[in-house]
Symmetry: C3
Subunit: 140 residues, 3 copies
């Protein structure tokens, strides 16, 4: 049984941004040498999330619009009494669930045809880290 | 340490349907021979989800109504410019989080009295796959 | 490879309550002796959830208000025909996703500076259990 850990860093040019990271996660799985197991992916921040869905521009825009509707930017959040102005980013991250787990079979991410991994940034324009931990069996 | 993988296939008669799958997942855990560990369950599609909650008809209807309110079927989504008409199914799947992990203790799913596993289909009437990966220790 | 399981019990004084549990989960990770792996945390109930976010009172209030807006307490849910009155608690738990997985590196939870673990109770004032399962490699 083996565990392999790497950290990715993102510094988005926009405050809100969806970054397609499937190939970066796949490269980590390959480097791990793990043949059968799981891959855990999570931001180390509370204003970002990981989600799995389609890499289609219209849908990405729909997801962003939908998150804004359900967890809108708004000055009146109680969290803002601390001087922060990003309470909506926390709520958006909660809505998507911050972390995800992915299956690995035969040394590769065992995803469906359209499943792609995204880093969802809701408070960007600064350096933020994502942990990727791969755990499982090496090839016999 | 052992990893055991199976795939389930669902082809629902309705476009939207909640399918109770606890006994199918339990059977896979039993076949895995794993005594202590975790069980990962995930659709291999981006318009379906796995959730854990009560197997009570009224509540299942409440969940469906609630999902429709928060992520409604609507012609105007940008994703539909591709010819698709199911953007709401993607949003509903995101809301429930597509995958879940379950604990295994003494060779069985270690769930509470009322915890039941559901496959939530939001774009059915076609064959769709769910991956179940069990990982952990065999009995000493 | 080792698996270590413990159960926590919560009996909140309020019906709705957010309980900060990072130190309790950290103590279990320490007792597990696991150096590198993952930690799975989940209520064994369908009216509670685990979430990871900031331990800031204003934000906790914002999260509670937001959950009430998206999944309001309301007498008309179909689930209430069974005699229950807590359908909103099920929906709130679904919204936050009931379980979470956390990374462990060098024998400790590998969380970002502000990531804290919360037990979100939506139907409290009675004894409820949370399972914590730690899985991974012991120190070489």
């Amino acid at each position: 049984m083996k565990v392999h850990t790497e950290y990715l860093t993102f510094n988005t040019s926009q405050q809100y941004e969806m970054v397609h990271i499937t190939s970066q996660v796949e490269a980590i799985v390959r480097r791990s040498g793990i043949d059968d197991g799981i891959c855990f992916v999570s931001p180390m921040h509370i204003t970002a999330a990981i989600y799995v869905n389609d890499n289609e521009d219209g849908l990405i825009e729909d997801i962003s619009t939908w998150l804004e509707k359900l967890a809108p930017r708004w000055p009146g959040y109680k969290h803002h009494r601390t001087g922060e102005d990003n309470a909506d980013a926390h709520l958006k991250a909660l809505l998507l669930h911050h972390e995800t787990t992915l299956p690995i079979t035969h040394g590769r991410l065992d995803l469906g045809t359209w499943q792609r991994i995204f880093y969802a940034e809701f408070d960007g324009q600064r350096s933020k880290r994502v942990i990727v931990k791969v755990m499982g069996k090496e090839k016999d």
